[in-house]
Amino acid sequence: MSEHTAASTEIRKRIRDAVAHLEHVLPGQAPIKDFVHHNTLHGLQQLPFSEAIAEARRVTGNRGYLPPQRFRELLAEGRITEEDLTVVLDQDPELQADELLIELEDRPLERRDIYFGALAHPLQPITGNQLIWHIQELGALVWLQSDVSHHNRERLLASARLSGLTTELEAIADLWSACLSALGLEHFILHPEELVDLAPEHAERLLSDASRDTEEQRSPLQQRIRIEAARLLQNLLDRVGPELTLRSLLQQLTGEDLLDDMLPLIIRQLASFLDQGVAPWSTPNKEAGFFHTWRELAKSDLIQVFQELHTWRDEIDSLPHDALEAIIAELQRIGLPRDRWTTYLERLALEVPGWSGMVLWRELHRGYEGMTAPVAMLDYLAVRLVLERLFARRLCRRCWQVEASLDMLRWYFRRNGFELLARHNLFAERLPEYLAARVQRAVATSDLDRGERDWVQLAELIWTWRRSPSADRPGGHTVYSGAWPLFRLAQHLGLAGTDIRALGRRGADVIFDCLAKLTDDKAGNLWLLAYERHYREQVLTALAGNHGRGRWSSRDTAPSAQVMFCMDDREEGIRRHLEELAPEIETLGAAAHFSVPHNWRGLDDKQATALAPVIPNPVIPAHEVCEVPRPEARAQGATHARRHARLEGWRQSLLQGSRRGLLAPAAALIAGAPLALSSLIGKVLMPARFDRLVSGLRDRIEGVVATGIELTAPNDSPPATPEKPRLGFTDEEQADRVEALLRSSGLTYGFSPLVVILGHGSRNQNNPHASAYNCGACSGRFSGPNARLVAAMGNRAPVRALLAQRDISIPAGTWIVGGEHDTCRDNIFWFDVEDIPSALGAAFEGLQQQLQDACLLHAQERCRRFASARSDLDPAGAYQHVEGRSADFSQARPELGHVANACAFIGRRSMSRGAFFDRRSFLISYDPTQDPTGEILEQHLLTNGAVGAGISLEYYFSAANNPGYGAGTKVTHNVTGWLGVMEGACSDLRTGLPNQMIEIHEPMRLLAVIEQSTKMLTAIYRRQPPLQELVGNGWVQLAAKNPDSGEIHLFEPDKGWVPWQPPDTPVRRVKRSIECFAGESGPCSPALIAAPDFCRE
């Protein structure tokens, strides 16, 4: 008895563990309002990159690389070169690329050539009908394939001429026959109708072959089919759990997807349970948990009547009260062996990954947005299991009059093997049309007491067809899977018939061994490496060429101003333009939380929002900062608050009230319709002007209030904690934060009179994924308040005094100004301008103007990527365009976000200042000369490195396989429960990025180049397991640039640091960065800019 109890405790523990493990396979995306970029395969980050992709493919079935066809296009476009591929092939020890295959007349043929040919050209096996089409319609045996390069074509024909074949026709015919004979095959062209059944000769041969075979195969045909069916049955039942669920098993046998019936039931109830405020009426009695409420509601569900689920009520009544017990009971009822229970649950969760992931996320983030109802994965899985079995029961009863359990299915199909074979071939494999139609009919009429005879006949037909030459058979070379690929490959290698004969059977085997080595994942990986190498070479060459050119590697003289931006890749462009316009300005980059995570409450906000990073680990702020009217504007502030509240109230009752209730919406919409009409016309026809009009109107009604922030708490305040956030920071705390920011960015000396700190955000419309465009360092929100806060702190005398004690003396003549860069509209909003000392007034105006000019140029650079922007826009026209885009609610691409991000430079700006990086690089300021111990760099790598990697990997996976890892097109998206988006009215939650965000992205891993010695980097790597995971497992590429010598080393996980040699070709040089991109709409390669005074030349 005790043994039994122990076993049952053990299985309960295993199920709980399995549920906890689901975190590693389900998408971990937060509700969409709090969308933050993170590695799509975060749960598998403990594995090396390529292994994680393979594992994810095994579990979810999703490909993790671009499709081969896309890579071939990139090869044709020159984004990957032959050289890149060759280098990558040579570097892979597994491939033995330089093994000699045969010495031909004019050259050696090595494995490398085979690999290259196989990667660069599609060589997949084809079907009988396709071959006929190739031969008869495309003249495959008359001409060389049209995609064969001129070079190889000439080589092949020359080689054929040597053996006396003068025409192309002869050469190609000879090659085909050589390919066939090399594999010991013969081929005669079958007419499509002859593919219907076995030709008599074949049938005869098959029968006479059988007599030579083993005992088992000599038995009569039906006997053989029976044996095969029994094997199939065993195989199918064995796969339930690790690969199949009951639903997918039945789908393979009946073609009916239980999920079609179940999904609406599950989604409605689950969405109602998880809803964060769309529906006015959500699940009653949520506190009891999902399983319990579902059970209560299901009892009164009339679906049982209409869907003929006769035992529904009884079954639901008899369910255990506890979800875990229900899971165990259900798994027992379907007769699944215990050792497969946990894998079964994983499969089940992965059938609807988006919703399952959301349930898990909410379970792991209890109390999110103040929601107290318990969300539990076990509850959800229990409901899924119960529903699955109830619907499976109906299906099994209807089809075979058996219960929905594996035992009953085994019992039935042991007796009806022919039916199993026929059904499985129809629904899970491929059948030619004439057979498919017959089996379909047999399946459709099975309830008319169809006798076994029909199934036997069908099974025989299928069995025969599978042995006919037109079927794709596993194992062994056939004309379609062997000779044809060889034939295609030979043409691309320029091999004639004689060469193939010279290779012989052994050579052919080596070739197929090469092809077999290039599995989908292997090929994808090789392509990716080549793709990455191509851009990496360009980036490193530019960096090497730029060594010593950039200004302010040390500030011997103070720049005229210092402008600190976010490290965001989108800021590379505006920084470059600013520097080109005003070479006397220095720019810096830092994560835009600016070391002041806090809860922010703006003037019009009802509650405070955390502006703090959540990657790699959520920072929960312990301080709150409020925006308040300035003392002189208190009266206006009060008026503003009143009017704003009233306007907002009206707006909400229009928006929300018009979709809730009976008569109230009628009243609301009658009032709202005239406004709606004018708004529609304005927004559709002239978005930018209308937007200005509306905001002007609002400002006039509500009144513009001059505001300040309350940031200081008395120095004797009790300590602030996340549980009880305190209003304001003490002087000491302020000094700590300002110091942290200045030290990490290296701005500890040489202060300019004006130091500008710019947060960022993206103002756009009608965009559920808006958070993804905002500041990733502030959990997908606007980081302007952080810039404003840190600037205000740095301007306070007590803080400066404390900083001076810590060796950072900000001169009295220096003033720090906060602002916010709108990355969509490309304008800058300034904070607390009133406080700037009058002595700096003129300088500030000049700087504002320079930044404004840089914004225009930046807008022009961005417009080259927009299809709807004219290609000849001047800066002002471009600015108008981006402004219109931002205000346009019909724009599915208000801006392009982090698209094309590819590298990150951690070091002084001088390493990249003076070069053009096409807005593709994160720029993180770090001064290696001020970091003797490496602590500062360590922090950079742990926090900013993780943020950059998260963004890059999210873009990577969404772009490499958008249907699998991304969110599909925005056009049909439908926001659900404020949780995420569905496609249409009832689908899985789509996680990842929508198509519109990634369509021009180049999916490659982030290349981080760090200005520091390899010695120090190695030391940091050794002591930081998170970095070993990220870099050692190849989730990012790492390179080190020596601060003094400028030498570059690449880090290779299996080899360590490898010195990088610059190629001989020099980097392109241009006068201004506009020369790099003018007229280009695709990616532009890096270049060195030679503007006067811009850098030391």
């Binding site: 059944d197 037909l461 009608n766 609610f889």
Partner: protein
């Protein structure tokens, strides 16, 4: 002049749709490069329509509403005649203005929104078709022309729901919408037939005047027939199920079809056929009841919906229900105003559906306490009062079963009668022969060579087949087997008749014959 303007209302969008469709067939507007041209054509047509409507509006304001305009005869047979005519009274003009402007705005919206979509051209083609169809419905001068518009709108709706036809859910919802609308069409056709028989004309003014002479029951019957398409197109209870599932297409199409325009077509038809109601006042309470039920259904179900588009859809259903209620109470003026304002507001709101999460500052106001804990009612609302599964159980499944039976009948009876051979596997037949080589017996009874020879050969084979099948088998054992077969079939037919659906079918068939 008026005639030309009238033509310019409806024709341009239809021509634009045809133009884009032709371009798609010939591949001349493919891909991203074809987007601009497609969008220009579609928008140009919509602008032309709007301008024509506006100038007619101006004419109506300054001079008078043009009223009935007849462009020509479409079909004529004896006394029965179908004209190409338009009714341009204030009602038609105001609705045409509404339709033309909202369609134009939506098209303009879609240019950016659908950029780089694979279905860009398809979308604009359908949207143009829909624009033409809706304009035709509201301006048509007679029932038949309105029916044409009605059908085109139905087809375009079907095509747009199935925009993402690679997704099962979308394809299935599209079919459901289509089938539901077919039921309505049957009613529409019946109404046309009845009007022709009893009033003798399909023109709206004739119906207005002619209805006065109708008996109560005749007017009632026509109205009942017309009610069917109203119920289906405006998605009133009990046909309300399809529209909540129709939100599979791109956001702008959901806005213009289900939020804003097409869903109101039924209400428009009701307002148009108001004169008939005066003849059959006893139907008014029924109409009011239908409207009220729909409004309640939409209201309660809407309270529980958690995705934005469905939530807006149920809000729309509620308001359409109220409009029908107003019609039932005889408040036609109110219903018209409600319709126009509602259409504008929903277009605005649906197009902003993706932004609601940012526009709304807090969760929706929860329902009052007395409602909150009513579990059964909550579940009924959440499951949309099971209208969909009920329709499945009552209509879809029996129909599908019927189709399957017919297929089986084809296989087992017709195919054999026609003489299509049973297929057996070459291998098993070879095996049956007990290892006798295939060469021992010739393929047919004849063998020949050459073209002429093979022609003769096939002819001979054919004759042989004929002889064997029908002549030789006809006598002796063949005949006996035939009779046995026939007996089997009769038995099967009897079996089938014992199932209720066939009995029902038989009764229906009998009724049709009698009528």
């Amino acid at each position: 002049m008026l005639e030309l303007l009238v033509t310019l209302i409806v024709l341009p969008p239809l021509l634009a749709a045809a133009w884009i469709a032709i371009g798609m067939v010939f591949g001349s507007n493919e891909g991203e490069a074809g987007e601009a041209g497609t969008a220009h054509i579609a928008q140009g047509a919509a602008v032309l329509s709007l301008l024509s409507v506006l100038s007619l509006d101006l004419f109506a304001l300054l001079v008078r509403a043009p009223g009935q305009i007849r462009l020509g005869t479409w079909l004529a047979s004896g006394e029965v005649e179908a004209a190409i005519s338009f009714t341009l009274d204030p009602l038609a003009l105001s609705l045409a203005t509404l339709v033309a402007s909202i369609c134009l705005l939506t098209q303009r919206f879609s240019v950016n929104y659908l950029h780089r979509e694979a279905g860009f051209q398809r979308f604009f083609m359908i949207l143009s078709l829909f624009t033409g169809a809706m304009l035709l419905i509201v301006t048509a001068g007679n029932l038949l022309l309105a029916f044409v518009g009605w059908e085109l709108a139905g087809v375009s709706s079907y095509l747009l729901i199935a925009y993402a036809y690679d997704r099962n859910q979308a394809a299935e919802s599209a079919t459901r919408a289509f089938v539901t609308n077919r039921i309505g069409d049957a009613g529409f056709l019946l109404a046309i037939f009845l009007c022709l028989s009893w009033i003798g004309s399909l023109e709206w003014p004739d119906i207005t005047t002619g209805s006065a002479g109708l008996s109560r029951s005749s007017a009632g019957l026509i109205l009942l027939a017309l009610l069917l398409p109203v119920l289906a197109k405006s998605a009133l209870v009990p046909f309300a199920g399809w529209i909540a599932r129709a939100l599979e297409g791109p956001t702008p199409s959901s806005a213009v079809f289900y939020g804003s325009l097409m869903v109101h077509a039924g209400v428009y038809l009701l307002i148009r056929s108001a004169p008939l109601f005066q003849q059959a006042p006893s139907l008014m309470p029924m109409l009011a009841l239908l409207g009220l039920t729909t409004a309640l259904y939409g209201w309660l179900s809407g309270l529980t919906q958690t995705d934005v588009k469905t939530s807006l859809m149920f809000a729309t259903t509620t308001q359409v229900g109220l409009m029908v209620l107003a019609c039932g109470l005889g408040w036609l003026e109110l219903a018209t105003w409600h319709l126009v304002l509602h259409a504008i507001w929903r277009a605005y709101q649906f197009l902003h559906a993706p932004a609601l999460m940012h526009l709304a500052t807090g969760p929706a106001r929860p329902v009052p306490r007395w409602l909150r804990d009513r579990k059964r009612l909550y579940n009924a609302a959440l499951q949309r009062f099971w209208l969909d599964p009920a329709a499945d159980a009552l209509l879809v499944r029996p129909t599908r079963q019927l189709a399957r039976d017919i297929q089986a009948f084809d296989d087992q009876v017709v195919d054999r009668l026609v003489g299509l051979p049973d297929q057996t596997s070459a291998l098993s037949s070879m095996e049956d022969r007990g290892g006798r080589g295939p060469g021992t017996q010739a393929k047919g009874v004849t063998q020949a060579s050459g073209l002429l020879g093979s022609l003769l050969e096939s002819l001979a084979d054919l004759l042989y087949w004929f002889e064997e099948r029908l002549v030789l088998r006809g006598g002796g054992e063949g005949l006996e087997a035939g009779i046995r077969h026939l007996g089997g079939y009769l038995q099967q037919i009897e079996d089938l008749l014992s199932r209720p659906r066939y009995l029902l079918l038989l009764i229906m068939a009998t009724l049709v014959v009698i009528l």
